[in-house]
């Protein structure tokens, strides 16, 4: 599959559709041609030098809560 990594947009050139993204302190230039209206501070998934999709902060939170819940339910049952 597809090695893709979350990264934050820190700079952007809307004309060339190229953005600089940060993964921790590492920076790389990637194409944002596949994203609708990319903006600074957006988190995107990058793969082979392209941003594929935005990452939803809300959904990420909700998923983490799901993980925690699963454990809780189990503890309650026991």
């Amino acid at each position: 599959m597809c090695l893709a990594l979350p990264a934050r947009i820190v700079a952007m050139d809307a004309v060339t559709e190229v953005a600089t993204v940060a993964i921790g302190e590492v920076r790389k230039d990637v194409s944002v041609a596949l994203i609708d209206s990319p903006a600074i501070d957006d988190y995107v998934l990058i793969h082979v030098g392209y941003a594929l999709n935005r990452i939803s902060e809300e959904e990420a939170q909700r998923t983490l809560e799901l993980f925690a819940e699963a454990g809780l339910l189990e503890e309650e049952d026991v």
């Binding site: 090695l3 990594l5 921790g24 302190e25 590492v26 920076r27 790389k28 990058i46 082979v48």
Partner: protein, 349 residues
């Protein structure tokens, strides 16, 4: 330096000149290159004598010798270059036996067309590295190959040193129960190289960790008389070197992923390229295997040294007929850490 007879009418043009075939032919051009570039910068008494060999007295005892070829590309990378790397690398190989490194030799194979400015930069860097380590380059050689037959510069360095009485450090001495220590963060060098390779560029502050470790080793040997194994995890990274040691000693190893120090920036770069930091080269780190009773003293000594600030205990040696190096992942599962097969390449999948 010898008397002031001007043998070379025109000085070597290190700003705009380039290496050509005459520099390797044994004639005047080569002599000038050696004198005005190599000897000038590497500057020490033995080299200055101008002989084809260096003559020096040795103390009775046991000597250590080691040699390395350096073919790295690019020649200059964040935190270092091929010259410093060559000096540090051979000093370290000698030091890993517990020896005090004494002298180095350096043989250069230069590609026709290499800018003299680049050559000078490399040699100056070697000189600085040798001087700060106090291990001079006392003899050398130069050859030139045709354009296209070399990668700019290839350097082969050989080093010698002496080992004190009673010191017995060898890759086959790891025993079940021993502690496994590492002197600092892993993966820095390899990532620094990758970041400057064509078609992979990314911006980072990560620098090569290239460093001479002989004074660190000296401190460690002074503190603990019976260190079992020392090795620097260069090509193939920590994982490959641990596998080598496990294989040589006929033991297994169990590591704790959480305990292995990795610079967060290195972690990020590895994630980006799909690399595993365990397999990424280091040029200024060492692995130490010792009795568990000595681990804490060694860690204290290492952390007190500039090249051991992030020293950590990362695992232990055990019985294992298969010689597996296993690791408990930070996730809580188990995995085998195998040897590296071929070069680790960035991947998309």
């Amino acid at each position: 330096m010898s008397a002031v007879i001007k043998r070379f009418p025109v000085r070597l043009d290190t700003r705009r000149g380039a290496v050509d075939m005459t520099h390797g032919s044994g004639g005047r051009a080569m002599a000038q290159l050696i004198e005005e570039l190599f000897v000038k910068h590497l500057d020490n008494e033995l080299l200055g004598q101008g002989n084809d060999q260096a003559l020096f007295p040795v103390d009775a005892g046991r000597m250590v010798m080691s040699t390395d070829g350096h073919v790295i590309s690019p020649l200059f990378f964040p935190g270092g270059d091929i010259g410093a790397l060559a000096v540090h690398g051979t000093i370290n190989d000698v030091a890993m036996s517990g020896a005090k490194p004494l002298y180095l030799s350096a043989a250069f194979i230069l590609e026709e067309g290499l800018p003299l400015a680049d050559l000078e930069r490399v040699v100056v860097s070697m000189a600085e590295a040798a001087a700060s380590a106090d291990v001079p380059v006392v003899t050398g050689d130069t050859k030139v190959v045709e354009r296209g037959k070399g990668d700019g510069i290839f350097i082969t360095t050989t080093g010698i040193g002496v080992v004190s009485e009673g010191v017995n450090i060898s890759g086959n001495r790891a025993q079940p129960g021993d502690a496994i220590l590492v002197s600092g963060t892993i993966g820095d060098h390899g990532v620094a190289i990758m970041s400057s390779r064509e078609n992979l560029e990314f911006e980072t502050s990560i620098e090569s960790d290239s460093a001479a470790l002989h004074t660190l080793v000296a401190d460690m040997v002074n503190a603990v008389g019976d260190i079992h194994c020392l090795r620097d995890p260069t090509r193939g990274g920590l994982a490959t070197t641990l596998n080598e040691l496990a294989h040589q000693s006929g033991v297994g190893m169990k590591l704790n992923e959480d305990a292995i120090p990795v610079n967060p920036a290195v972690m990020a770069a590895c994630e980006l390229l799909g690399l595993d930091p365990l397999y990424v080269a280091n040029e200024g780190k060492l692995i130490c295997i010792c009795s568990p009773d000595d681990a804490n003293s060694l860690l204290d000594v290492m952390r007190a040294h500039p090249h051991g600030r992030n020293a950590a205990r990362i695992g232990e040696v055990g019985e294992d007929a298969h010689g597996f190096v296993q690791m408990e992942t930070s996730f809580g599962g188990q995995r085998v850490i195998d040897w590296l097969a071929g070069e680790q390449l960035p991947r998309i999948c």
